[in-house]
Structures are given as structure tokens and as C-alpha cells.
Point group: C2
Chain length 68, copies 2
């Protein structure tokens, strides 16, 4: 099992959290997504490591951005 935490910018409410969660959950192999709205921390749990590019693409699909 792999676990990585990213920081997502631009989320302002529960709907934003739901959008990011929905898109990141769609990535192959992802088994869990936990978002902390105040900090923008998004913890991604997966069977095998997930490419950061895939997470970035999912976050952007939701309408937000990875910090850094």
C-alpha cells in the first residue's frame, strides 16, 4: 500500500472538497482520498504508488491546482 499527501490550492468549501475527491478517486489503483479543507492537504492511498502527474491531472480536471 502506498500513501502520499499533496497540497491543493483553491478549495474554498465542501463542494470543492467533493469535486477533488471525486476526480482523484477515479485514478487507477486509488483506494482512498482524504481532504483537509483548511490546509488543502489531500492524502491519497493506493495499492501501488500513483504518478504525481496523474494526481495533478485529476486535481486540474476538478478545477484546482497542486501547490508547488
Amino acid at each position: 500500500m502506498a500513501e502520499s499527501t499533496y497540497t491543493v490550492t483553491g478549495m474554498t468549501c465542501g463542494h470543492c472538497v467533493a469535486s477533488v475527491t471525486e476526480e482523484v478517486t477515479k485514478i487507477d489503483g486509488v483506494t482512498g482520498v482524504d481532504v483537509d479543507l483548511p490546509t488543502g492537504a489531500v492524502k491519497v492511498t493506493s495499492a501501488a504508488p500513483v504518478a504525481e502527474a496523474d494526481v495533478r491531472a485529476a486535481v486540474e480536471e476538478a478545477g484546482y491546482a497542486l501547490a508547488g
Copy 2:
């Protein structure tokens, strides 16, 4: 035709605007809802005047509140 403008607090993003618009649009007789996110102004257009209590209930159903 009647037109009233209310101020809604707590909206932070386009998802919030969509939620409020959806709920207020459901009120009987409402023909148009226009939300300005930065100010929270919600303009409600209707065939006949709509009770403020109905607008308040719809806004609260969406998860927000009328100012004042």
C-alpha cells in the same frame, strides 16, 4: 413580473452559486435567479411576488443563509 434582491452569506465558489441557484429556482413562480458571488447578491425574478420566507428556506436548504 416581480424582482427582489437578497443578500446571501457563506457562498465561496461557483459550486455554492450553483447550489443556491438550484434551490431558489425550485420555488413556485420563480422564473429567474441571478447570483453575484463577490457581493452575495441574489436577484430573484418571478411572475408574482415570492414570500421572503420561501427564499430564506430555499437558501438554507442549499446550506447558506440570508443576511439580516
